[in-house]
């Protein structure tokens, strides 16, 4: 007689230490290579940089050991590596363009790690968040729509997704997505039965009843509003995608996804036909290499990014040896193209695999955790990262129309980096609960 048992998962704090060491070497080596190839290598600067990142890593590691001892061991090293490679590449573009985004990004990284530690210290049990379901929903929608408030919102490059407070600009949408994931998780865990079980059958699938469509239509309307008034295709796609993904996880019903995707497709097509801003994006996507479209400047950035990645080839030009600065916004929207040029397909694939690992860990935590809210929260956060990466990489590689989203952890952008570190904190919290040995898993 034999039994099938789940392998008891080791907490893995020691493996995390080892992985963090590798990722620290990656971070420092990336920066040193950039300095050496694009400018000159100053040992003291590199030493300081290495010291700073080591302090952040050790702090994160020690705190995790104390407050979330069973948390997933690979999340932290993967995210540190992504962030570090991002900073090196931003620094590389700084050197070419004489800007100082990398320094700002380093400060944001430190703030992000601090935010993560604070969230882990304050939030000892992710289930507490369920109490704030509707609060989070309202906060999320308000944050998303905040840039539309006259006097507060500012328009940058045609998209009205920034707000300006006391001279500092920030992107509230990045934080809104966390609030909305909390809201969706709380809402769906309560209502999933009505959404999952009732409705007419059509083409072998059970479709939702019209009266249950309320939330779907509301979210769809909000997504369309963002697309039309903030002109932010990416955020609207992300927002709606997270909702559909979580709806699918909650109900296991493909019909919801098809209904939702159909609605979004209709909305997107109408927008593409009527709104000039969206139409030019579609044009640049479909006819990127046409002489007319290129000459008009709409697809110039996209095409330069493509050529950059092509010149990188399989193994890249080496950090600091390419010309990623030829692409506009090479440090934020097009950092994937910059990395593709300097690290090549091999390096870019490694980066995408790191994202894949992070997302896989999120879903693993969702499978492992016992409460429905935690499951939806972790899968929602996983979807956030996955969809965002898909939208960014898909846009840069011409799979989908280019939209202005940032690659999580890699791209330059304070709000985005801070928000993503908070996402990571929540994931670590849920995974700690999920991997806790069962005898101590159920606190009274």
């Amino acid at each position: 007689m034999s039994t099938v048992s789940e392998i008891r998962v080791r907490a893995g704090r020691r493996s995390e230490m080892a992985l963090l060491a590798i990722s620290w070497v990656i971070i420092v080596l990336a920066r040193a290579q950039v300095d050496y190839n694009a400018a000159y290598l100053e040992i003291s600067v590199i030493a300081l940089y290495g010291l700073g990142t080591a302090v952040l890593m050790i702090a994160a590691h020690v705190v995790l050991d104390k407050v979330a001892p069973n948390a997933d061991p690979v999340l932290l090293p993967a995210v540190f590596a992504l962030n570090g490679v991002g900073i090196a590449e931003i620094h590389r573009i700084d050197l070419a363009e004489d800007t100082s985004f990398a320094n700002a990004q380093m400060i944001w990284m430190a703030l992000g790690v601090t935010a993560m530690i604070v969230v882990l210290l304050v939030l000892r049990d992710h289930r507490k968040l369920r109490r704030y379901t509707y609060t989070a929903g309202v906060v999320g929608l308000v944050l998303y729509l905040l840039p539309l408030v006259p006097g507060l919102g500012i328009t940058v490059n045609g998209a009205r997704i920034w707000i300006s407070i006391l001279g500092h600009s920030m992107q509230p949408g990045e934080f809104a997505k966390i609030a909305l994931v909390i809201f969706f998780a709380g809402y769906l865990v309560t209502n999933r039965d009505t959404l999952a079980l009732a409705g007419p059958k059509f083409l072998g699938m059970r479709f939702p009843r019209p009266r249950d469509m309320g939330p779907l239509l509301l979210v769809w309307a909000a997504a369309m509003l963002i697309m039309v008034y903030e002109r932010d295709l990416g955020a609207s796609l992300l927002f709606f995608g997270i909702f559909l993904g979580m709806l699918y996880v909650a109900t296991q019903r493909l019909s919801w996804v098809l209904t939702g995707a159909g609605l979004f497709f209709i909305g997107g097509t109408v927008a593409a036909l009527t709104i000039p801003h969206v139409r030019s994006r579609f044009d640049a996507w479909l006819h990127a290499l046409d002489a007319d479209t290129y000459a008009s400047g709409t697809s110039e950035q996209l095409v330069r990014g493509l050529f950059g990645m092509a010149s990188g080839g399989l193994f890249g030009t080496g950090l600091g040896n390419g010309r990623p600065d030829l692409v506009p916004y090479a440090e934020s929207d097009f950092i994937i193209a910059s990395l593709g040029e300097e690290l090549g397909l091999t390096g870019l694939m490694a980066i995408l695999t790191l994202y894949l690992i992070v997302v896989q860990r999120a879903f693993r935590a969702a499978i492992g955790v016992r409460d429905g809210f935690g499951k939806l929260l972790a899968s929602g956060l996983g979807f956030t990262i996955a969809i965002q990466v898909f939208i960014v990489v898909g846009g840069v590689t011409r799979v989908i129309p280019l939209t202005g989203l940032t690659a999580p952890f890699l791209a330059y952008g304070g709000s985005s980096l801070l928000a993503n570190w908070i996402v990571l904190a929540l994931l670590l919290r849920v995974s700690d609960m999920a991997r806790r040995p069962s005898e101590e898993a159920v606190p009274a």
């Binding site: 039994t3 789940e6 080892a18 990656i26 290579q33 190839n37 690979v74 040896n321 790191l354 690992i357």
Partner: protein, 172 residues
Amino acid sequence: MSELSITVLRFGFLILLWALVLSSIAVLRADLYGTRVTSRGKGRNKRRDDARADKVAAPSRSATGVRTGSISTSSKAVGHLAVISGPLKGTTIPLGTAPILIGRSPTCTLVIDDDYCSAKHCRIFPENDEWRIEDLGSTNGTFLDNQRVSDPMPFKRGDSVRLGATALELRS
């Protein structure tokens, strides 16, 4: 630094990136493969193996709803009733001399948890050395080879009976 060392560094960095990816996956491999099959106790293994050879796995009573106590299995076996489809697929009931009651009610011999089944749906009973099937006024009917059963009908080997989502067959 020479051209060579730059190239070495360039490829070294890529290798390092993949080293991180692969060692992360190595840390996760326990998770990726999920489960492990272990033998239960060392000393008992051999005896268990022998016992398994001549023992047919029987579904547990709570899982099948079969009330073994009400069936007389002492007489020479005429055959058995096998569930060939439905929620209890794979269940067999040895046929003795006692009648078998099938339905949703927990007092039945074969308890079928199916909304299309009545509480006391049908009865299979021996008469003059053959088995007969009789519908007990069920809502959705009992069908013997696609023919609705009302009065007791002979139930021969190889015949199949359908009630709700369940199909039964008489086997030797």
